[in-house]
C-alpha cells in the first residue's frame, strides 16, 4: 500500500457549483460522494482513486466555486485545496449547456499554471437541448485536452480517464492569441484537434 501511494498522481476536480463534479467523481472512482440536483451540495472535499494505463490516481472532489477568490466557506475550502496542491493536475469540469459560465474559473486555473484537463460534462443534456459544443475547437483554443463526458450516461468517462495523463500547462497569452484568430500551434503536448483517443 505504501509503495502504491508513492506512485499515485493527484487530480483535483474543480468547477462551478452544480456542474456534476461529484457525479463524475463517483463514475471515475466508484465513490459515494453525495450527489443532488441543486448547487452547493459538496461543502467539503472527498477523496477517491482510480487506475488508468497502469497509473494510480488519487482524485479529490473539490467543492464548487465560481472563482479563485473565495466568497464563502465552501469556496475557501476549494481555494485552499488548490493552493496546498500547487502543481498537481486539475480536472476542470464544465457544464456543456453553460460553457461560458465555467470558462472564467477555467482560465483562472490555467493562468495559475496548473496542468489542466477539461471535462465537458452534461454533454447528454446539451444534446437534448440541441446545444452543440465542439470539444475539439475548445481544445484547440485552450491548448489543454477537452473531453466530452456525461456522468449520467457514462459517455466519455473512459476517454477522460485515458486523457488524464495528457493534462498540460498552457500559457494564457497563447490562448489569447488563439482567440484573436492566429493560427497558433495546438496543445504544446503535441495533442490537438482530436479528442478522446487517449493514445496519441
Amino acid at each position: 500500500m505504501a509503495e502504491k501511494n508513492k506512485k499515485m498522481k493527484k487530480i483535483l476536480m474543480v468547477g462551478n457549483p452544480n456542474v456534476g463534479k461529484s457525479a463524475l467523481f463517483n463514475r471515475l472512482t466508484g465513490g459515494e460522494a453525495i450527489v443532488s440536483n441543486y448547487p452547493g451540495t459538496t461543502v467539503d472535499y472527498t477523496k477517491g482513486e482510480f487506475a488508468s494505463g497502469g497509473v494510480f490516481y488519487e482524485v479529490t472532489d473539490v467543492p464548487g466555486t465560481y472563482s479563485l477568490e473565495p466568497r464563502d466557506g465552501a469556496e475557501e475550502v476549494a481555494v485552499s485545496i488548490l493552493e496546498k496542491e500547487k502543481g498537481e493536475v486539475v480536472m476542470i469540469v464544465l457544464d456543456a449547456t453553460r460553457v461560458e459560465r465555467g470558462l472564467y474559473l477555467a482560465l483562472e486555473v490555467i493562468e495559475r499554471g496548473y496542468p489542466a484537463i477539461i471535462a465537458l460534462n452534461m454533454i447528454d443534456e446539451a444534446h437534448d437541448k440541441e446545444i452543440s459544443v465542439s470539444a475539439g475547437e475548445l481544445q484547440r483554443l485552450l491548448g489543454v485536452p477537452v473531453v466530452a463526458t456525461s456522468a449520467v450516461s457514462g459517455e466519455g468517462i473512459k476517454d477522460l480517464a485515458m486523457m488524464v495523463r495528457k493534462a498540460c500547462v498552457t500559457d494564457i497569452s497563447r490562448i489569447k492569441a488563439a482567440l484573436e484568430g492566429g493560427n497558433e500551434d495546438p496543445a504544446p503536448s503535441g495533442c490537438g484537434g482530436c479528442t478522446g483517443c487517449g493514445g496519441c
Binding site: Y66, E69, E100, Y104
Partner: protein, 73 residues
C-alpha cells in the same frame, strides 16, 4: 438610458456598461461589461434580483445590484 440594475423593472433588458464595485465577484458570475442581461425576477422586501445572462440565471443581492449600471434599450 443608463439605469442601476437595482432600479430595473421586470422584463427590462440592456447591456452592462459599468460595474463600480465588487467587480471580481460579479465577473466570476458572468456579469461583465458588454454583456446583455434581462431582468427576470425582483423579490420583494429588498430581496435579490434575478437576471438572465444568456442561458444562465444569476441572482444578485440588491446592494450588489446597486453597483451595476445597465444601458437599457
Amino acid at each position: 438610458m443608463k439605469k442601476k440594475l437595482s432600479e430595473m423593472d421586470y422584463g427590462d433588458f440592456g447591456t452592462v456598461c459599468e460595474i463600480s464595485s465588487n467587480k471580481s465577484a460579479l465577473r466570476s458570475l458572468g456579469v461583465r461589461e458588454g454583456k446583455t442581461l434581462t431582468m427576470v425576477t425582483k423579490q420583494p422586501i429588498k430581496g435579490p434580483v434575478v437576471v438572465m445572462l444568456g442561458e444562465v440565471e444569476v441572482a444578485i443581492g440588491l446592494e450588489t445590484a446597486d453597483f451595476v449600471f445597465v444601458e437599457c434599450a
